[in-house]
Amino acid sequence: MEIHVLYFAALAERTGCRSEVVEVGPQATVAVLWSLLESRHPALVGLPYRPAAACDRTWTDWDASLDGVREVAFVPPVSGG
């Protein structure tokens, strides 16, 4: 299934894009998707933190299934204010 992946801030800089479409297998989870993204974008490997993930605009655990999910966003630790 196709997942629309969003990147923000430093992650967008590391991947060189703010969004992309990625094909994942039927049993994929957020963690599986991230592994796939690491192989596409070596600059994502070895981050000093695990990005937060939001599936279809809802904050989600990394072991959550992507079944029925259309969009996954990965966000670095926030630093607003």
Binding site: R57, P77, V78
Partner: protein, 136 residues
């Protein structure tokens, strides 16, 4: 009312019409761009937001400040884009019946914003380099 804006924040606009007749206190927090961080000279900040989720999270803070901290009205405005030293990055204004609730709700709002709202700052340094700040 919560908002993101790329134009400079005008405090008088944030405060305009905020306090109702039943309010006896208004507390304001302004975040401003500092000229250094961890001893390193900073010439400006660039703020990047995930607008839809940032507004949703700011809306939760507004609602909770009223429901659990005694605020009667809350306004939070956060800048995006490039800011120079001294500019206002975030304005939080809280009206309430009494000062204790206004201070408490205002503090709650900024502390929660810094933990939960998907906005990021990039520091621009005097030597021309820049770095994203991750975590606050």
């Amino acid at each position: 009312m919560v908002a993101l804006q790329s134009d400079p924040i005008r405090l008088e606009r944030v405060l305009d019409g905020l306090a109702a007749d039943g309010d006896g206190a208004v507390a304001v927090f302004l975040g401003t761009v500092r000229d250094r961080n961890a001893g390193r000279p900073v010439v400006g900040l660039t703020y990047h937001a995930w607008p839809e989720m940032a507004l949703a999270e700011l809306g939760k803070i507004e609602a909770q400040a009223c429901a659990s901290h005694g605020a009667s009205t809350v306004r939070i405005v956060h800048r995006t884009g490039d800011l120079d030293v001294g500019e206002i990055s975030v304005a939080i204004a809280v009206a309430s019946a009494h000062r204790a609730q206004a201070f408490d709700a205002c503090r709650f709002a900024i502390e929660t914003l810094k933990r939960t709202v998907p906005i990021w700052k990039k520091e621009r340094y005097a030597d021309g380099s820049a770095a994203w700040i991750e975590g606050s």
